[in-house]
Symmetry: C2
DNA sequence: ATTAGCACTCGTTCTTATAGAGTGCTAACA
DNA sequence: TGTTAGCACTCTATAAGAACGAGTGCTAAT
């Protein structure tokens, strides 16, 4: 099972070449590479062994070889040399993060965009997660006699709003009183705990001060049910379609469907732990992703993980380059977010 | 140029059949239809005339005929009998609008979804336009010593927010004072006029009351620059890909690109006047839409046009059904929105 | 252990043949 | 004069066969 140096060399050249050309590679053309010093016959023997071991495969009986998933896995785990990004790439990223953008979502969205442009693959960014945010302020803006907007602002500046109706019997001054009580008691509480805290501690308090408190309370409680999902942002949704592996109408349909569904992708990306993660082909456990690899990186604010940034490309992806880019962007993103919001 | 009754009948049958089958139709199979009482030779003669007039065309020298764009146009303008929707369709729409949803955007989004599901085409919904809304309330929530969130609520319950920074030298009580002044003076003003009014009338006022008013003023003015674009919602983005006319990888790529770009589509849809509008193929002036038709309908709140709801399908679209659905949904949508928000 | 040589396999491309759907035209018919 | 039957012709789609070339696996020589 341990590969000889020569086998490793051959595997490396095959993967590198296939990533560039998308064409199966045969013993003769391999033997012409400068790093290869032995004959095509020797290569054929080694290739047969590599195939037996499952690292490469043929597309048909007498074709050249292409990397198998196991081959990509070996390549990614052992042969990946961290590629130096060129200066123009570095500069583009630096200038992105040098811009003074204040909205969290906008920064994240821009990152997705630039990532897809630089890789020519599809980028997906999750987050930032709001469920760990803390309530900064709750406000209620009446629209007319029975409708109002409830607005929630979190400590990171995220704003959620919900419209609700209430009986016309409710006294406007009661609404104001309630908002005051809620702000006093709920400021600084993590969003996920709002509802339980509301019913456990505050209901009692409200009952003492407000006449028709129960209808109002239910409206508010409903409003505080925030979306549990992080938002999903995309960059270059159609980029991946220009890859030669998607020259098949059916594959395109299945992949586009999966991308549009969002939920499958979301689940796929979300479960990845901190740092860089690489999932190759069927490792993604999703039939539409058979020919795709997904590379994810997490970004954070201070010590707290905020979200995930990912690249979706063919298994024949430029792993080295994508990883370097993801690494750079995710750390820069974390740095900017930390600077911007951590000094509370 | 005027068609005989028989020619009209033949055209109608050809279009109807092609919409169903997506296959060119020949004189022999036409002659077997029950509404056709004359022979295939007669049909051949009539077809030749219809082709000379530009209403139908051949895919190759000895193929059957398919409708041309001009043929579809004639069909749409003259032959379309308003189709009765079946009960389950009606029921689905009714139940959609019977739900008590209060958020404008959510209602609109749901409409897009149901429309794409019922037609199996792609639906696109613009709006609702916020630029004609009036300011209900402006609020500022400080996050920390130099950052705050400005929140704008409109009379229809639309909420916009923007984060901004200000010098630490600014006095918090000044901020509060300013917000009070702005609310007094700007409530009820259409969003598009906010900025000019701010500089023309209110700057003077602020100068009298607030010490470092100019830095604050600029931050606020920036915040009031709302997005001019209506939002674009989609339903069934990939539905149209399952149409047989998109069995070509290149066509798929071009169309998906155009859909993802959003801006092109937005322009295409926006310029349509009130009511139902049908644009067939090249009438859309967009190369990616060559094989597509776009049907739009506007929806409104009271007398005020709010947005547009549209269906994108192949030129070989079920015009009659789509038009009926659009008509029903757009009027129901208008009705619900009017009821919900008009009673200010 | 390495390599040259060779028979063999399979995909690609081109050609050729065939069947089938449909047309346009002509001539006969009511 | 409008309608129709008949027929030669055109073009597509499909299959089958041939030639080519890239590549393999195996054997024997180095």
């Amino acid at each position: 099972m341990l590969l000889t140096d020569r086998q490793v060399l051959i595997l490396q050249v095959i993967v590198d070449d296939f990533i560039r050309s998308a064409q199966p590679i045969g013993s003769r053309s391999l033997s012409k590479k400068e790093e290869i010093t032995f004959s095509s016959a020797t290569i054929r023997n080694e290739m047969a062994d590599l195939e037996d071991l499952g690292f490469i495969e043929k597309t048909h009986t007498s074709s050249g070889r292409i990397p198998s998933e196991k081959g990509y896995r070996y390549y990614v785990d052992n042969l990946l040399l961290p590629q130096k990004l060129n200066h123009s790439d570095m500069a583009a990223i630096k200038s992105l993060f040098a811009e003074r953008i204040y909205e969290l979502e906008k920064i994240v969205q821009k990152s997705a965009k630039i990532l897809s442009e630089m890789t020519n693959y599809t980028s997906i960014v999750l987050g930032p997660a709001v469920k760990d945010n803390r309530l900064k302020k709750l406000q209620i803006v009446p629209l007319n006699k029975d409708t109002a907007i409830a607005i929630i602002v979190t400590d990171t500046g995220h704003v959620e709003n919900r419209m609700f109706h209430f009986p016309t019997s409710v006294d406007p001054s009661d609404v104001e009183k309630m908002v005051n009580i809620l702000n006093e008691r709920l400021a600084g509480v993590p969003l996920t705990n709002l509802n339980s805290k509301l019913y456990k501690e505050i209901a009692v308090l409200l009952r003492q001060h407000i006449s028709s408190y129960d209808t109002l309370l239910n409206s508010i409680a409903d409003t505080l049910n925030l979306p549990s999902h992080e938002k999903v942002f995309f960059g270059g949704k159609t980029n991946i379609l220009s890859q030669p592996e998607f020259n098949d109408v059916d594959k395109i349909r299945r992949l586009m469907n999966m991308i549009e569904q969002e939920d499958g992708l979301y689940q796929l990306i979300r479960k990845n732990p901190a740092g860089i993660n690489i999932k190759i082909g069927t490792e993604n456990d999703n039939s539409a992703m058979e020919n795709c690899s997904l590379i994810t990186a997490t970004y954070s604010m201070g010590a707290e993980k905020l979200g995930t940034i990912a690249v979706l490309g063919p298994t024949r992806m430029e792993y080295s380059r994508v990883i370097s880019l993801l690494q750079l962007i995710s750390t820069d993103l974390s740095k900017v977010l930390t600077e911007l919001y951590q000094n509370k």
